[in-house]
Symmetry: C2
Subunit: 315 residues, 2 copies
């Protein structure tokens, strides 16, 4: 592996950018410079101190039993409804599997679905995001992921933040994702795999980003991909976890967490609702990679509004 700990910025696009990437011919492992848990230590919040420590050290947290059966029914019905009403959705937001056989994801669902808008502002999720990020938050990205049975393809290892920084202009690590399972996650159906502790290290990627890269990368990632040696180092340090659980299970993970998933040949889809919360103070600048920004449906830039919480159950 590469032992270089400080990036030698070949194309110094932004001086003092601690997270420059895709500027070198060799991958580097750079220590994170931002806090993981941004809250003041003495502020009371929706998580136990064990949960906060777990998130701080490992970069993820599993929340169970947040939603009741009726709420899960509503979310599952919305998953189906969106799939069946593709003709009425913004066509740009519909992403197919690499072989074009099936729907992989619908993006920007918080703006296209009342149910998803309500979910994104639900206090059970929002309070956690605001607490860990110590700020008001907005939805940077949202989607329904279908990961169909039989032909669901793998999603290679990546740090979301690397892409969001280089291609979208997210300045710092002050965002997190929540995956709300809408089908059971088993060991067999290509569950989300996380490398605990990997959020502490920023893996810079090699190679330039092609123009309009997002059109391919949402289906199959080829740039912004970490190298095998760096991945081996991270796995040697932290291992791999793949949280299992019934529909309704929420996995919260930090924006620099290295994650991915294997394919799914089982008959059981691995579907989830996916919401990325970003701190208002961390709203997007120009992309750090120097390219044209990606469209709004992938990375909210125009519609930055703090979410207002909805308390209580929605079903």
């Amino acid at each position: 592996m590469s032992a270089v700990l400080q990036p030698r910025v070949a194309a110094d696009r932004r001086p003092n950018d601690p997270y420059a990437s895709r500027t070198l011919t060799e991958a580097t492992l750079v220590p994170r410079v931002d806090p993981v848990v941004h809250r003041p230590a003495d502020r009371a919040g929706p998580l136990t101190s064990d949960q906060v420590s777990h998130f701080d050290e490992n970069g993820y947290l599993v929340l169970e039993n947040l939603f009741n059966a009726a709420e899960i029914d509503v979310l599952q019905a919305e998953l189906t409804r969106l799939e069946q009403s593709q003709a009425r959705l913004d066509p740009e937001t519909l992403i197919l599997e690499p072989d074009d056989r099936e729907l992989r994801s619908v993006f920007r669902v918080h703006a296209q679905s009342g149910v998803m808008k309500r979910l994104a502002s639900d206090s059970r999720l929002l309070d956690v995001a605001r607490f860990l990020l110590a700020d008001d938050v907005y939805v940077h990205q949202s989607r329904m992921n279908y990961k169909p049975g039989f032909f669901g393809k793998e999603f290679y290892w990546h740090s979301d933040f690397e892409t969001w920084h280089v291609e979208d202009g997210m300045p710092r690590m002050r965002a997190l994702s929540m995956s709300i399972a809408l089908t059971e996650n088993t060991e067999h159906n290509g569950p989300l795999m996380l490398i605990p502790g990997s959020h502490q290290t920023y893996v810079t990627c090699v190679g330039e980003t092609p123009a309009d890269h997002y059109k391919q990368s949402l289906r199959r990632q080829e740039y912004g991909v970490p190298d095998p040696a760096s991945l081996t180092t991270l796995v040697d340090r932290g291992g791999i976890v793949a949280p299992k659980g019934p529909a309704g299970t929420v996995i919260v993970f930090e924006c620099n967490m290295m994650h991915g998933s294997n394919s799914n040949i089982t008959p059981h889809p691995r579907s989830n609702a996916f919401i990325v919360y970003n701190a208002i103070s961390n709203a997007l600048l120009e992309p750090f990679g120097g390219q044209r920004p990606r469209p709004e449906f992938i990375a909210t830039r125009a519609h930055i509004e703090p979410l207002i919480e909805h308390r209580g159950r929605f079903a």
Copy 2:
């Protein structure tokens, strides 16, 4: 799913073939007509009666601690040696991953490697095969599977027997496979998945077989593929198991077992030595699909010799 239980043979290539396949436009589920355990009930053998019952009902068996650490070292060294000496192997027997990046398998290893020849005739494996098949046996197929880390691709669900019958001319279900793990099988590195009980049902596949189909099918299967409805039925009945265990773990499974594996994006390869034992009385006829037989390196036809056991440890 299709509820047709008896195949309506459109192209009646072999009258009375209980396992006709790829002859209909619709998939069918046909009950197996052959025994699973072929031994006379009163004959003593190398397995406990619980193990025999487990194999009979579920179609597979996991054998642990057959080999000592020195023997596993020898097998692992041979895995590496074969990969590094590809230039000295029969080029036809080297199969790459679908994207050509890495070695997927070396076939006919029992004829190209003294270590693998010794392993195939080891009494700890051979006695089990001869007992369950109640006959002398020979090696129908052997290989080293590399399933590399990072880029190991999935292997879609299939019954080996369907292919061996249609493309190779194996007359009846009287064969079994043994996968000897040469790396740890974890839940994350694309382990072999089996559908317990699926060996009792023969899933006929739709579509004709293209000529020289094997050149593609060893890398990515497209014909002889069971349909989603039949797979769903089998999984609803039997579920899915993916045996885990350290290097040296042996998975024995019946020739009509429905099995497959997901991709492997972890840094950990999922390598194994793979040996198919067929009963001498079940040696190949002309392919039941009417095509030209596949080459010897995939399906032994010319070299039918009963294996003579080697007792004791080989390291």
